[in-house]
């Protein structure tokens, strides 16, 4: 079936099986590989994208569901002032180790800060709870988002 949606601000249309996972459409059909498949079952958040501003695991979304929606991936976020600010925060705080969870964490950070530009540690942890990281123990990711919130005053 044909599905039209906006991906990183551009209107696109794909013609695929309606049950095909959004994750596969983005990674395989469209070649945008920033988001990763860590589990394929909605547990790890490595495949996180924003759909109409909400964080979603793209491995659980059949493509038919995104018709008319705004989909944002790290490719679309990274060049924006917000995206840069989070990446800077992550770099400064040591939030990145193996990096496999990090693009998903970037999307989670954007969702957290959009909801609340000055989140507390508890709110950040709550916002990250759908994104698993096996390397960092989360402390430095939390710190990265705190730094982004401090330095990104006014961006969100």
């Amino acid at each position: 079936m044909k599905v039209r949606f906006s991906l990183n601000g551009k209107e696109i249309s794909v013609d695929v099986d309606s049950l095909r996972r959004l994750l596969d459409v983005i990674r395989e059909d469209l070649g945008l590989t920033a988001i990763k498949e860590g589990c394929g079952e909605g547990e790890c958040g490595a495949c996180s994208v924003l759909i109409d501003g909400k964080i979603v695991n793209s491995c659980l979304v059949p493509i038919a569901q995104v018709g008319g929606a705004q989909v944002l991936t790290p490719e679309g976020l990274k060049g924006t002032p917000r995206g840069k600010c989070i990446v800077d925060g992550f770099t400064e705080a040591g939030s990145v180790q193996c990096g496999f969870c990090t693009p998903g964490m970037l999307m989670a950070a954007e969702a957290i800060l959009t909801k609340n530009p000055n989140p507390t540690e508890a709110e950040i942890r709550e916002g990250l709870s759908g994104n698993l990281c096996r390397c960092t123990g989360y402390d430095m990711i939390v710190r990265g988002i705190e730094i982004a919130a401090e330095k990104g005053e006014g961006l969100w």
């Binding site: 920033a34 589990c39 394929g40 770099t91 040591g94 496999f100 990090t102 693009p103 970037l106 540690e121």
Partner: protein, 707 residues
């Protein structure tokens, strides 16, 4: 603080955060085929017959008949077949590899392969393995390894004992859950097989592929792809995948890629060795320890992998940070019909340390003294004899580290207060972690070689086979070399290793990458600096030498098991719900001695990550076997810590430069995993007022202990 410790931005942070860094699953090749393993559905059986379906053009089933060399996954022993020959020894053992262009068609072919089995009786538990249930799986006695070491006069200690205190401690399976699943890509280029994969040890994979191909050194090339976490799990299993893909590519001469989905990864890759350790301690009238008798059993799974050396590390860590005057340690690693156990951060030490820390707590408890105070009486000191009758050559800073942990955690007040009632507890556990390969392994087996190249453009390239897998090597190696040379970090090049270009500096394992390989890089950089103006471009090569202070006898297992140790202490505070027995962790404190951290933030990241992973091991990560299959085979069922499960880790380091480490650094990547699980269970013990001797400590177990 030394200059080298000052944190710099990690060189790989930006690309990874933005998602521009490519991992294995992000790579594509023209004409690339996909591979899916066909695995046994029995834990122990003989294969009577296999019926393969008619294959459409362009599809292949690769199996033992396609192996041009030895049909083995070469590790320490060559006991693991690359493809099943006749006997199946664990559920999920690889029978064949289905290869082709379309994944749905591959699944259809896979599902229509029929195997007739003659079932044999499997042995899963240690009891079944030692009773040789169903006949031996390995050798005549099911033992991959059986060692004994002794120190002092243990017989006399037990003769003189006023009492003997005993414990049996059990630790469970653990799955790595690197967030990037296993994967590898192989292709045919310049008349040879090239493998590129998510892996820790390029030369191990090369060796394994060489064996199945029966080719010479030039016949195979291995390249590391950016690795999304490993923790030991990509030390052994990539050899299994690599051997199979090498055989497939050798036959088909086209690119073939395998990427596991999570369930395949959890179900069939190597796990941390489960353990049972029995402690008997001879105590005099005053409560002093005279000697210990320690009996270690590790469950090794169906094939040996690294069980022999894992067991040695468990044994050599068995008395922990304590100077026990007399001891006997026996260790056995058993074959079972389970997925082979393999390398996992800590490599046998966490099992030993959970045991000894728990046992010391229980001794203190019996004697009615504060466990922290009791443990402090027995700290190893510089010059003390180790459990293998070697020496501690370095200053041991445990007294200072204990002082810090007491202060940070407010231990005394909490310990006294929580002793009075049910519900809250604080526990402290100590660790030492031998850096580098056990015994003389670095010299006898590894023989690391590193190269530094000064290029025409004045840039310097690091050529080693060690890999970045999240632990920060891309940054820390560059720092070491740039500091020696006094040039900016940007002048140093260090790419993912490719065996066609880099010498064999050994595996990325055993807390050796910084201490052993980093030191060789520092030495190479010094020479490069001296000769800098001699030529516009040249190469410096350095070979490993044992530090002169160490000596080791591999036959008797006597001497210096390790040249140096990392040291750690972790305190954990918990609150146990009196109704649900859910445990909430209220505080985590950690003090570590890693010599001198090469980058404070990188090392802090190791501490927070390692401690939280260990708390998962100690409190959440239950992996059970049911008829040879893991009950928890998804990330929904096998639970690792989320951002909500544990509070912040408050950490610090003490400085204790090691002369044979770069800028004084020792290993730290595994040490940070060693203390948190026993600290957690000790805290729960205090909260519930009952001893615990098994991890993970889950609410059901607490309920059982209490009833």
């Amino acid at each position: 603080m030394k200059d080298i410790q000052k944190a710099v931005p990690r060189v790989d942070a930006r690309g990874k955060a933005e998602g521009t860094t490519a991992y294995l699953a992000d790579l594509r090749m023209e004409g690339m085929l996909h591979g899916k393993f066909f695995r046994s559905t029995r834990a122990r059986a003989r294969i009577v017959s296999i019926r393969k379906p008619e294959l459409p053009a362009g599809y292949y089933i690769i199996d033992k008949d396609d192996v041009p060399g030895e049909n083995v996954v070469a590790m320490i022993e060559n006991d693991w077949p690359a493809f099943v020959d006749r006997e199946v020894n664990y559920l999920g053992e690889i029978i064949s590899l289905v290869v082709g262009p379309d994944r749905e068609e591959i699944v259809r072919i896979h599902d229509s392969i029929e195997v007739e089995y003659e079932e044999l009786e499997p042995a899963f538990s240690l009891e079944e393995a030692s009773a040789l249930k169903g006949g031996p799986i390995h050798g005549k006695d099911n033992l991959f390894a059986d060692y004994f070491i002794s120190k002092g006069t243990p017989d006399e200690a037990f003769r003189k004992a006023a009492r003997i205190i005993e414990d049996t401690c059990d630790t469970g399976l653990q799955e790595h859950i690197y967030i990037e699943p296993q994967g590898m890509l192989g292709w045919w280029e310049d008349d040879r097989v090239v493998l590129k994969g998510s892996l820790q040890c390029p030369y191990y994979v090369k060796h394994a592929a060489q064996e199945v191909l029966g080719c010479d050194d030039e016949g195979i090339r291995v390249i590391q792809s950016t690795t999304g976490g490993a923790f030991g799990g990509k030390e052994d299993y990539p050899e299994v995948i690599g051997a199979a893909i090498a055989v497939a590519v050798n036959r088909i001469k086209k690119p073939v890629r395998i990427v596991f989905d999570r369930t395949e990864d959890i179900s069939f890759t190597c796990k941390r060795h489960p353990s049972r350790i029995r402690f008997r301690t001879a105590v005099d009238e005053k409560g002093g320890i005279l000697g210990m008798d320690i009996d270690i059993h590790l469950s090794g799974g169906a094939y040996e992998t690294y069980s022999d050396v894992v067991l040695q590390r468990t044994m050599f860590t068995a008395t922990g940070v304590y100077d026990i005057p007399s001891s006997r340690v026996r260790g056995r690693a058993w074959a079972t019909n389970m997925v082979p156990s393999g390398a996992f951060r800590g490599f046998g030490a966490p099992q030993a340390l959970f045991g000894i820390e728990t046992h010391m707590n229980h001794i203190a408890r019996e004697l009615k003294v504060d466990p922290l105070e009791y443990k402090s009486r027995y700290f190893l000191q510089k010059g003390a004899a180790t459990v293998t009758n070697g020496r501690i050559y370095e200053d041991v800073l445990l007294p200072e580290m204990t002082r810090q942990i007491r202060e940070m955690s407010n231990y005394k007040r909490k310990y006294d207060e929580y002793s009075k009632s049910f519900g809250r507890g604080i526990g402290v556990a100590f660790a030492l972690h031998g850096c580098g390969f056990t015994g003389d392994g670095e010299q006898r087996l590894i023989k690391a070689v590193v190269r530094l190249v000064k290029r025409e453009d004045e840039k310097i390239e690091i050529l080693v086979s060690n890999v970045e897998m999240g632990q920060g090597l891309l940054t820390t190696y560059r720092k070491i070399v740039s500091k020696v040379l006094g040039v900016p970090l940007e002048m140093i090049i260090y790419e993912n290793p490719d065996t066609a270009r880099v010498p064999d500096s050994g595996p990325t394992a055993a807390s050796r990458s910084i201490m052993v390989v980093g030191y060789l890089l520092q030495e190479a950089a010094k020479e490069l600096k001296q000769r800098w103006d001699d030529e516009s471009s040249f190469e410096v090569e350095k070979h490993f030498k044992m530090p002169p202070h160490t000596s080791w006898n591999q036959d008797t297992l006597q001497g210096d098991a390790y040249p140096s140790y990392g040291w750690g202490v972790v305190a954990v505070e918990v609150e146990v719900d009196p109704v649900t027995f859910e445990v909430e962790t209220k505080g985590i404190w950690a003090v570590h001695d890693v010599g001198v951290p090469i980058d404070e933030r990188v090392m802090e990241g190791q501490v927070t990550g390692g401690v939280i992973q260990a708390l998962g091991y100690g409190s959440l990560e239950k992996l059970e076997l049911k008829d040879g299959r893991f009950y928890q085979n998804t990330m929904t069922d096998y639970m690792i810590p989320t951002s909500l499960d544990f509070p912040k880790v408050e950490g610090s380091f003490v400085e204790n430069p090691y002369p044979y480490g770069p800028f004084g650094a020792k290993g730290g990547g595994e040490l940070v995993f060693d203390s948190a699980a026993p600290a957690f269970s000790a805290a729960v013990e205090q909260a519930i007022g009952k001893p615990i001797s098994r991890i993970p400590v889950i609410p059901e177990d607490i309920m059982e202990v209490l009833s």
